[in-house]
Amino acid sequence: MPFKLRRVPDSEKEKLAAAENQRELEEANRAAEEAMLQDSEQMEALEQREELEAGEEETLIARLLSGELDPVPEERSQQQPEEEQDTTTFAGAFLDGFLFRNPSLVDFIGLTPIIAAGFSVQNGLILSFATIVTMTIVTVVASLLSGKLPRRFAAPLYTVLASVIVLPIQYVGENFLGESAYYVFQSLSLLLPLIAVNGLTLSRVYQFALSHRVLPTLGDALGKSIGFSAVLLAISSLREILGFGTFFGLHVPIFSQWHWRILTTPAGGFLIMALVAAAIQFLQQRRRIRKKGGEAQ
């Protein structure tokens, strides 16, 4: 018997369509309700989280203001050196201090001689010599006496020792090296004694000398002080050439025609430091990019 199609009456069709619409509507409503529920749950969770965060923030701020907490030093973390150097040997400590963690270009410690007095090469040489001698002797003595002296007496004692070391340098320079040297040392009479209280020496005593043996300490002190002196000499040369048009008192042909006196002031010192630091960061970035390129190939 052939299958006969039964014609669905229009009224039934309408009923079916209405039921379908109803089901769809119900589903849509349920979905909307669920979504609303989820939203409200999420909102509640968010509110709770925000409250928690606000509470945490308040406690963090309170702890920060009271000085209990040291937040992660972002600026310092960005300046981390690429390569970790082994500082337990003389050579490793020297290289780390001289190149990878140069005190004046990476940590910006002890900038007073560079900014305040580093506007001529003569000043640069005198201050470099004083820094190298002072830092080497003080850190070696600190390393030898580490453990035998309470930590709270370390800074005062080593600062007095540093000032005793600077004293003969100034005395000999003023009295036994001729007239021209006398005037140079006289102009430095306020700034040369500041080498004794330079932050660089104290920071190396606390961070390195008190926890290392003599030989690595000697390497670190020489590396840091020679690195510092190299930067001081470079910046003082630049400032003298561009600011006065001379180098070591002698006229430089092209630069002697104009003088940017602003560079001999502290503002000029900061400016030159900024340019040197930017140049070094630029070179480091290029080196990093080349390294990455080499590894990729």
């Binding site: 009271s66 209990e68 800074a155 600062t159 540093a162 004694p193 004794a196 606390y206 503002a267 960061q281």
Partner: protein, 206 residues
Amino acid sequence: MIQLWYDFLYAIILGLLTQNLALAVGVGSGNLLKLSQKEYIGKLRYFFCVMLAICFSATLLCYLLDQTVLQFNDAKSPFLRALRPVVYVAVLAVLCIVADFVVSFFFPKVRKSLGDLLASACLNSGALYILLLNRQENGGLFESAVFSITAVAGLALSVMLMRALRERVELVRCPEFMKCAPLALLATALLSLAFMGVANLNFPYL
């Protein structure tokens, strides 16, 4: 009386603006860059309180020592004159030890939070420079004391200005090699230039 007021005003302007330690003279610029970092915000008030107390008391002590025992200004021997910074550093060192004991005894939490920063608050270039400048200029007791206070206040002012400046400067879009330290140094140079604008400020005698 007028002379006293004149000295007082002159010492304030000298310490805060014209001889501002970090920005106009360049002494303590390492401290300026170090203390204007985020991690030192909570410790700044303690640092400057200790430094203020040390500088003030060291100024008084050095003045008394100069006038009574040492009399450096009249010393004919060049060695005695060269010995002056050593004596000043020794005074600062003794005061540093005293400050360490006092702060540890009365404010142990502050001592703990300051750590090694206490030593650098007492023994820094700024403190020694204040003492040396006071003696070189032959300042009186009152003038020297006021200058020591205003010089430390000037350093605090420059650190706060620098911190505010660095917060804004860190948001600036700039080439990668200029970020962090070079930008901070550039901002310091501009701030220093602003202070140079008042370097020759001189008001006539009243």
